[in-house]
Amino acid sequence: MAEKVLLQGNVAMSEGAVQAGCRFFAGYPITPQNEVPEYMSERMPQVGGVFVQAEAEVAAINMIFGAASTGARCMTSSSSPGVSLKQEGISYIAAGELPCVIANVQRAGPGLGGIRGAQGDYFQSVKGGGHGDYRLIVFAPASAQESYDMTMAAFDWADHYRNPAMILTDGIVGQMSEPVELKPYKPACSLPEKDWILDGCKGRAPRIVRTLYLHPVERLIDHNRHLAAKYAKIEAEMQDAEEYRCDDAEVIVAAYGATARVAKAAVNMARDEAMKVGVLRPKVVWPFPVKFFKKHARRVRKWLVVEMSSGQMIEDVKLAIECSKPVEFLGWGGGWYPTGESILEKVREVYR
């Protein structure tokens, strides 16, 4: 194994982007993601890339729209209120089927909320966020290492499917420093030729990156059918989750990101008390790893969902197991953090 270096989650994510060939970054300051634009402002010029500090989140995502249309690997990052501002642009990028990576280092909301880490943007990330029928491929790292690895992979999958990808992290994973192995970049999937980019029509017919379909009516419906078929393919191919002590578990704790790591500690304590408990951690939250949940649905007596929100992913868990077993919940929005003890206490109650 290669040497490890101590990196903050936000920096690990940024370096993963650089290693994956990201050569355009536009962003705007907001806590707790400031290390990302700061790091990129240094790194982009070093690798022949471009860093632009945008005048607003809205401008930043539209710079990404432009840079992505040239075929460049590009990224923007923000935290919750700033990601809300990006939603219009994300919808256009999804409509134009342009690959790019958007990071959300989630903080507590709603409104200006607070600067503690949170998981209140789950719905926004996996259900749409902006207007119209579209989906993002949403990665949910739980460590600095995964922030590095998943960001590298996100660029590949975005290119593979011609779809924007999101790194849905949070203020805890983003701010925490951990040892990271800086693995050399290796494509995570096949990378089709970018035969759609706008680089001038020399020797070919002009191309249009289209986000408007007025006439005939069927054209926009067809475009939506095409997008839906792509999303169905992504749902079939990209489900990913970590199963931790799930094999014989009678109760499974479902959690993602930083919350899942605390849940693992709780599960280890519960195992010491002879409770058969495991953790199922979605590593990709859209597409939701339904098949992992279905696999355990028959054996498991009860599910416990823990989120740093007032309950969002729980809806997808219920859908995944088709409400076949009771699903309990622990969590609050607004900057509430779980502890091993608080989850253990809930596990004891649910396990009965």
Partner: protein, 249 residues
């Protein structure tokens, strides 16, 4: 005499109303791009507004942007492809209302792009609401007593405002309401593209343009309206020229 269609334009009829200025301005852009021999390396941005279907008319690559964001989109494109020619085509609502921030900051960063700003003092596509450039006293569907009676403020004068910014290279206001004016507009648009080719920096040409439909005037009356009303508020001229070739207002 038959005038050939520029190679930079498709051989299709536009959807614009009789007497509208957009068709003239499209043609000037097409002619200039042909003349400069840059069609195969030009990428245009289409705005939200009447010119939203720009890509149906121009024979080069086009990206369809969200409302007001073309200068940001163009920034991303130009920074990644400095040797391509990137221009935005924007109306007054797009550039001077919802996209004011993008306009000012792209200008002040000195992005090496060309902006064609069509000022017809109205929201044409949505049916004649007050634009940021609607003039004091001017009727619109949202200022039926004339602009200025209910806290709308005076019209925004884009060239005058941008002239104060250090990053800007070239600003000129022209019109397309007479053959002579059109010749002047063509010269200014050409210079704005030449500036980009030479790496001079941010160039914006504001074009006073007719909207007979929303002005509730005939096409002929609309031509006069530009001379008699619009030019009083929006005087023509060069507002900034770092190449030192033009005349200052």
């Amino acid at each position: 005499m038959k005038l050939a269609r520029p190679e930079s334009m498709h051989d299709v009829a536009t959807h614009y109303c009789p007497g509208c200025g957009h068709g003239i301005i499209h043609r000037l852009i097409g002619e200039v791009i042909d003349e400069l021999g840059i069609r195969e390396k030009t990428i245009g941005t289409a705005p939200v507004g009447c010119a939203v279907l720009l890509y149906n008319y121009m024979n080069f690559d086009v990206i369809e942007c969200s409302h007001g964001r073309p200068p940001a989109v163009a920034t991303g494109m130009k920074r990644m492809m400095p040797d391509r020619i990137i221009f935005t085509y924007q109306g007054d609502g797009d550039l001077a209302a919802i996209g004011t921030g993008e306009t000012i900051h792209a200008a002040n960063r000195g992005e090496n792009i060309t902006v064609i700003f069509v000022n017809n003092a109205t929201y044409g596509m949505t049916g004649g609401q007050m634009a940021p450039t609607t003039m004091t006293g001017q009727w619109s569907t949202t200022t039926t007593e004339g602009r200025g009676k209910h806290g709308e403020g005076p019209p925004l004068r884009v060239c005058e405002m941008l002239a104060t910014l250090g990053g800007v290279a070239y600003l000129e206001r022209v019109a397309v309401n007479s053959p002579k004016a059109i010749a002047g507009a063509r010269r200014a648009i050409k210079k704005a593209f030449e500036n980009q080719m030479a790496g001079v920096g941010f160039s914006l040409i504001e074009v006073l343009s007719m909207c007979p439909t929303d002005w509730k005037l005939s096409p002929k009356e609309s031509l006069a309206f530009i001379d008699q009303e619009m030019k009083k508020v929006f005087p023509l001229g060069v507002f900034k020229d770092v190449t030192g070739e033009g005349t200052s207002v």
